[in-house]
């Protein structure tokens, strides 16, 4: 064997061990990411007596889901929130609350955000860029500062004889403060990417501003609007602080997770089942907008 081939063997050995190291790193990364989600899923289908152990030997069951969606579960909530000592209950109304609040939030926010985003992208008007940056900075306002005044305001405003505090409507209103700015920035990104020539041509052909907007531009940015809607839906679905302070007894799913605690502390198998219910729809939505999440979160600052 010549010295040359020994050298080659060594370098291919080094390359191989590097590859092995990389594969190990990848597997570690995958485990790091997937384990909490996997464990939640496993716990959700464990029978109650096996949930409080790390065992993987059990017969899968759906009874945890049955429990959280039935009225018969009698769980006395003692620990988590002293203000209300309540009884664990059917989570279905909470699912409904989350769907209604998140759905209404995007139904209101997305059309408004689309119009605004279009104007920011296509018109130069006084204060255009200053306003855009200002909208970005509203995201840095801590949610608690928004929640305090709206709590006191909604306590005194009544709608149909009931205070706005603890209603879906109240939560939808405060959700606007987080959803609108993100939606505007996201949709603006899509409008920016659209070449202006088509609109120019329509203008030359005699279309007015609104005709161009509604018949030419909007159909073209529809995919972007859809992505922004999904992103906004996820934001309001996962929102917790407003739901806790403003939503209160009108529990969204995020808050309802807390009602799985009982006399023995948190009923983990029920929490896991409720957690899956919260997570699975968002999981599919997140996969759907996978390529746009980063742009959304950073408002396009990282590209």
């Amino acid at each position: 064997m010549t010295a040359n081939t020994i050298g080659q063997n060594q370098s291919s050995l080094r390359l191989k061990s590097l590859k092995a190291l990389e594969t190990l790193a990848l597997l570690l990364i995958i485990a790091f990411i997937v384990l909490p989600i996997l464990w939640l899923a496993i716990t959700a289908i464990k029978p109650q007596e096996k949930a409080y152990s790390t065992t993987l030997i059990f017969s899968p069951t759906l009874e945890n889901f049955e429990i959280i969606f039935s009225d018969t579960s009698v769980i006395i909530n003692e620990g988590t929130d002293r203000e209300r000592g309540e009884v664990g209950r059917n989570m279905f109304p909470s699912v409904l609350n989350s769907v209604v609040v998140s759905g209404a939030t995007i139904l209101i926010a997305i059309p408004l955000a689309t119009l605004a985003a279009y104007a920011f992208s296509r018109y130069s008007f006084l204060g255009n860029s200053v306003l855009l940056v200002w909208i970005l900075t509203t995201q840095f306002i801590p949610a608690i500062v928004v929640a305090i005044p709206f709590f006191t305001l909604f306590r005194s405003i009544t709608l149909f004889g009931k205070p706005l505090l603890g209603t879906q409507m109240g939560l939808i209103i405060v959700n606007m403060s987080i959803v609108l700015p993100y939606a505007i920035w996201m949709i603006k990104g899509f409008v920016d990417a659209l070449p202006g020539e088509i609109e120019e041509a329509a203008f030359v052909d005699g279309c007015n501003d609104f005709q161009i907007l509604f018949f030419i531009s909007l159909p073209l940015i529809r995919p972007g609007v859809l992505v922004a809607s999904v992103f906004a839906f996820i934001m309001s679905w996962n929102e917790f602080l407003f739901a806790l302070i403003i939503g209160r007894e009108m529990r969204t799913m995020q808050v309802a997770l807390m009602t799985t605690s009982g006399a023995r502390g948190i009923m983990w198998e029920q929490m896991a089942a409720a957690g899956l219910v919260v997570m699975i729809p968002i999981f599919f939505l997140a996969m759907f907008i996978r390529k746009n999440v980063v742009d959304g979160l950073t408002m396009g600052a990282v590209k």
Binding site: L35, A143, V145, I148, L241, V293
Partner: protein, 323 residues
């Protein structure tokens, strides 16, 4: 091309109005409350009264008492410290692990692509749920993390230590295998930061993957031809090129960390002994759970606003000066 000046304002108007109402109004109202004695248990007395004689201002009702209280309140100081350490740990871990993941998954075969797809998973888990699932997994009796940490980390280290201890030179105490992670002041805060890192490192990795992808491949090629090894390429080429993005991401994550609230509620409840009471959590406790002191809660949240304004200004200047 288009002349009508009013058109953009009609389009922007409604959205702008709602943003102003849902952000500027509460900012002003909270500032106003912060100068008052305002407890939810009693009807508040406000300085500005609108009566028959127009607007009257009773200056005696305004004071800086709430702010003075904040800086003499050891629990508030504690919450500042907790938030500081939580932010430092979670930002550092998220950015470093995010960078590591990005470099590993950026180029390669199927496993790399699969990992890249998985990176979006934690985004689907709400922070509140994240807190619960970590709390469950860290349980000292039946938590999977507790088991894994004991078996894979503490176990081997202790085995090594016992070998060292067998030599008659030093005696190093073994690490306890029965640490109650969320019952220990340091570990509770660290694990809270870890749960945050679990949610953010993959997203930050995605941000870096995007940034890495936009770097010209020829730069790396040139470095390789010049004989640079992988580590050299990472520290001398990749890192300097990513610097602007790293700065932006770090600042953004700092802002998100300072605002953290959800997991404290679901994972630690602020404990043990206030070791994980972040600013947001303490404000919530004062304003809505314990003393119901809205004036004081407003004052503290304004201190948070000031902190975040500084960060936001830094962030915006980073983003605007990038190009």
């Amino acid at each position: 091309m288009r002349k009508k000046r009013w058109v953009p304002w009609v389009l922007v108007g409604p959205a702008l109005l709602i943003i102003v109402l849902t952000t500027i109004y509460p900012l002003l109202a909270a500032l106003y409350y912060s100068f008052h004695k305002y407890n939810l248990r009693r009807p508040p007395q406000f300085a500005i009264q609108i009566g028959e004689n127009g607007i009257q201002i009773d200056w005696s009702l305004l004071s800086f008492n709430n702010y003075a209280l904040a800086f003499s309140d050891s629990r508030f100081i504690n919450s500042l410290q907790v938030t500081f350490w939580f932010t430092v740990i979670s930002v550092a871990l998220s950015v470093i692990i995010g960078l590591f993941i990005a470099v590993v998954v950026q180029k390669g075969g199927r496993l790399h692509t699969l990992t890249k797809v998985l990176l979006i998973f934690p985004f689907a888990v709400s922070p509140a749920l994240k807190g619960y699932s970590w709390r469950f997994m860290l349980n000292e009796n039946y938590g999977i993390y507790d088991l894994l940490i004991d078996q894979l980390i503490v176990g081997p280290i202790n085995a090594l230590l016992s070998i060292v201890n067998a030599l008659p030179i030093v005696e190093i105490p073994l690490i306890s295998e029965s640490i109650v992670w969320l019952g220990d002041k340091f570990w509770a805060l660290f694990m809270l930061a870890m749960s945050e890192t679990w949610g953010w490192a993959p997203l930050i990795a995605l941000m870096f993957v995007g940034a890495l992808g936009s770097i010209d491949e020829q730069i790396f090629e040139a470095a390789r031809i010049d004989g640079a090894n992988r580590l050299q390429i990472f520290f001398r080429v990749t890192l300097p090129l990513l610097r602007p993005v790293i700065l932006i991401v770090t600042m953004l994550k700092t802002i998100f960390s300072l605002k953290m609230f959800d997991q404290v509620v679901t994972m630690t409840g602020g404990g043990p002994v206030r070791a994980t009471q972040t600013i947001n959590y303490y404000i919530h406790q004062i304003g809505f759970v314990r003393s119901l002191d809205i004036g004081y809660a407003s004052a503290m949240s304004y201190i948070l606003v000031v902190l975040l304004t500084i960060c936001a200004a830094l962030y915006v200047s980073l983003v605007l000066n990038r190009d």
